[in-house]
């Protein structure tokens, strides 16, 4: 079934390319395949047993056994959540592209190819198989940024590609070293070796390392870390993001921030935390400082941006910083008490909620920006609007809800994740949580500044005739905004699916 789900968007992409130059038909076919993938994901969600401690829908076929390669796929609480998020964000992005005349059949095909890459990445349990999808997803993303977007998109796409490639090469080298030392590429097996400490010994012994074994293990860890730190991104490996997000078309940015950036956090949870817990614990200070910097600096930088897309790009870095902070805090704490396990579970549950919530909210926010751009002839400067709530009350109201969700207002989807992250991190790494609160505060400052400058004050005479959301747009936004309330008021929808996975992680990260 997972294979079918992964291949469906790929086949859809080929179909879209084959339907000819008819844009309307291409977008319809793309939407059908996107919705089909979402329905299959819902079927997975429905059939997923949240109490089962392990991988579900698992498929394991030997591929090249001598090289440790196997076709090994499956999902746990994290995997099912990522599948649902990817499928949802792709459908939202396709809906946003519906009225964008610049997006032709190639665009829609690339979106589906990217979805295939995302599904593959979130279900693969063998490094080689996983890495192929990880890299494949980069190719459609590169062309989506390169072919549709702002005037500096060529430079932005090159920066995005090169940054990610540097990270990927470091990651590949790290895993080649691991394979040479252990003969394993399987994540589940490697996690057992990592948690028992055998990985460090095996690396030193089998790679004929004459120095301190810990140093070699740390070197391998930092290589793997770089790959995920670029993708997430973590400060200081983040400078590709504001430029890429602001230069790519808003519909592409929805995909990048809603689904693709989650690949980095997924890597932290699926690979770094289970396979390198000792190394993360050893390097906790620089890791926590990087996480704090990822939260605080972009929040401040977002405040002085003049471009709405750049503001929300920095906001994305800041929001994913909370996830990195929680993962690093969990790894940094050495206690094995029941209280520690509870706090670790809280922090990790918060991460999963934050991943899903941010994906949904960020995709919605960039869609609102896309609509604003389309109605204003391509403008998106914060100071170029004003008083929009009088001329576009529905648009302003719904975007306001999405902004408040991003801000972490109780009752909306941003709150439970951030609350649980801070609840856990305050107990595990109090100093890091205390400094990171500044990021929460600044998030409120810059998001309220956006509301004030764009929606309040006197109406800019240029936009007095700006049309509000159409009926069709309102109907499309309704389920998205509704989901924000549902997750905000009933987070058990997600926590109920992931709690066994989280409990296993929390139990696994012991020293």
């Amino acid at each position: 079934m997972i294979t079918l789900l992964t291949l469906l968007p790929f086949v859809g992409g080929l179909f879209v390319l084959l339907v000819g130059r008819n844009r309307a038909l291409a977008r319809l076919v793309a939407m059908l395949f996107g919705v089909g993938a979402l329905l299959i994901t819902c079927f997975f969600w429905w059939g997923f047993d949240p109490q089962f401690p392990g991988m579900q829908y698992e498929v394991l076929h030997p591929w090249v056994p001598s090289l440790g390669m196997a076709y090994h796929v499956g999902v746990d609480g994290l995997g099912i959540l990522m599948l649902a998020l990817s499928a949802l964000v792709v459908v939202i992005s396709l809906a946003a592209s519906w009225a964008n005349e610049n997006h032709d059949r190639l665009y829609f095909a690339l979106v589906l190819f990217l979805e295939c890459g995302l599904f593959g990445t979130f279900t693969a349990l063998n490094f080689v198989h996983w890495f192929i999808y990880w890299e494949l997803s980069l190719i459609p993303a590169f062309f989506l940024v390169r072919l549709w977007g702002g005037p500096n998109r060529a430079r932005a796409s090159m920066l995005f590609f090169l940054y990610t490639m540097v990270g990927s090469i470091a990651l590949l080298l790290a895993f080649l070293a691991i394979f040479l030392a252990t003969g394993q590429f399987d994540f589940v097996q490697l996690a057992q070796l990592g948690q028992s400490g055998q990985l460090t010994t095996a690396l030193a012994q089998n790679l004929h390392w004459s120095g301190n074994p810990q140093h070699l293990a740390l070197l391998v860890f930092w290589g793997a870390f770089l790959g995920f730190a670029v993708k997430t991104p973590v400060v200081p490996f983040h400078t590709w993001l504001p430029r890429t997000y602001s230069e790519a078309s808003s519909e592409t940015t929805m995909l990048l921030t809603g689904a693709m950036s989650k690949m980095g956090v997924y890597g932290f949870l699926r690979i770094l935390l289970p396979i390198f817990p000792h190394q993360m614990q050893q390097e906790m200070k620089p890791l926590l400082w990087m996480a704090v910097a990822t939260i605080v600096l972009p929040a401040f930088a977002a405040w002085v941006q003049k471009d709405l897309k750049r503001t929300f790009a920095y906001s994305s870095i800041n929001h994913l910083g909370y996830c990195v902070l929680a993962v690093c805090a969990v790894a940094s704490f050495t206690g094995t008490t029941a209280e520690a396990a509870i706090e670790k579970s809280a922090a990790l549950t918060g991460v999963l909620l934050q991943i899903f919530s941010h994906g949904l909210t960020a995709a919605a926010l960039f869609w609102f920006i896309a609509l604003l751009e389309r109605r204003s002839g391509g403008l998106r400067g914060i100071d170029e609007f004003g008083g929009l709530r009088r001329v576009m009350p529905v648009f302003s109201g719904l975007m306001g809800i999405a902004i408040f969700a991003s801000l972490g207002l109780p009752g909306l989807n941003g709150f439970p994740g951030e609350f649980l992250i801070f609840k856990g991190v305050f107990a595990l790494a109090p100093w890091a949580a205390s400094i990171s609160v500044l990021g929460l505060l600044m998030t409120a400052v810059f998001l309220l500044t956006v509301i004030q400058k764009v929606f309040s004050g006197p109406v800019n005479p240029r936009w007095e005739a700006m049309p509000d959301l159409t009926t069709a747009e309102r109907w499309v936004f309704l389920p998205i905004i509704g989901l924000m309330f549902v997750i905000g008021l009933y987070p058990q929808l997600i926590t109920g699916m992931v709690h066994v996975t989280v409990a296993q992680w929390a139990a696994g990260v012991r020293f």
């Binding site: 400060v235 200081p236 983040h238 400078t239 605080v296 600096l297 930088a301 002085v304 600044m442």
Partner: protein, 153 residues
């Protein structure tokens, strides 16, 4: 209870002292407190300068730090990336220069020399018997000169 009641009565007394004894008849008349304590009145009228205090401290620092964070992003992190890009581009140019002028240049020059040598030697091998006999004669002369020179030595 007694303390709070006392505070209430002191407040009432102060209110009567300022405003009850000599009521303000017109809106344009100065306030009693303004007449008696102009400094205190100004401070109260400006909300004890709390807003100004925040503007000069917390908000000023936040503005500065936001500009600093954006600058850090643009100049330090972005600068580091640019530096790496320049270094890599520099190496690229250096490599291209070595390729073009040293490797290609040397190889091309060697090829040209071989070509020139070939064209020079081709003059001796043009298919005409007269030229071959001439070359043989020249070679014999050179050989004879060398033998004679060696014999004398």
């Amino acid at each position: 209870m007694i303390t709070s009641s006392l505070i209430v009565f002191v407040g009432l007394l102060l209110g009567w002292w300022f405003y009850g004894r000599k009521p303000i008849l017109r809106a344009t008349d100065p306030d009693a407190l303004e007449r008696l304590q102009p400094g205190l009145f100004r401070a109260l009228a400006n909300r004890l300068y709390v807003d100004e205090f925040y503007e000069g401290t917390v908000i000023a620092f936040t503005r500065f730090f936001a500009a600093f964070a954006a600058g850090l992003d643009r100049w330090v992190f972005g600068g580091a990336v640019k530096l790496v890009a320049w270094i890599v581009t520099g190496f690229g140019w250096l490599d291209a220069g070595v390729d073009r002028f040293v490797v290609n240049g040397g190889f091309d020059e060697a090829c040209r020399e071989v070509g020139r040598g070939g064209s020079l030697f081709s003059r001796f091998e043009n298919g005409r018997v007269q030229r071959y006999l001439g070359v043989i004669a020249l070679a014999l002369v050179v050989l004879g000169v060398m033998l004679l020179w060696g014999h004398r030595g």
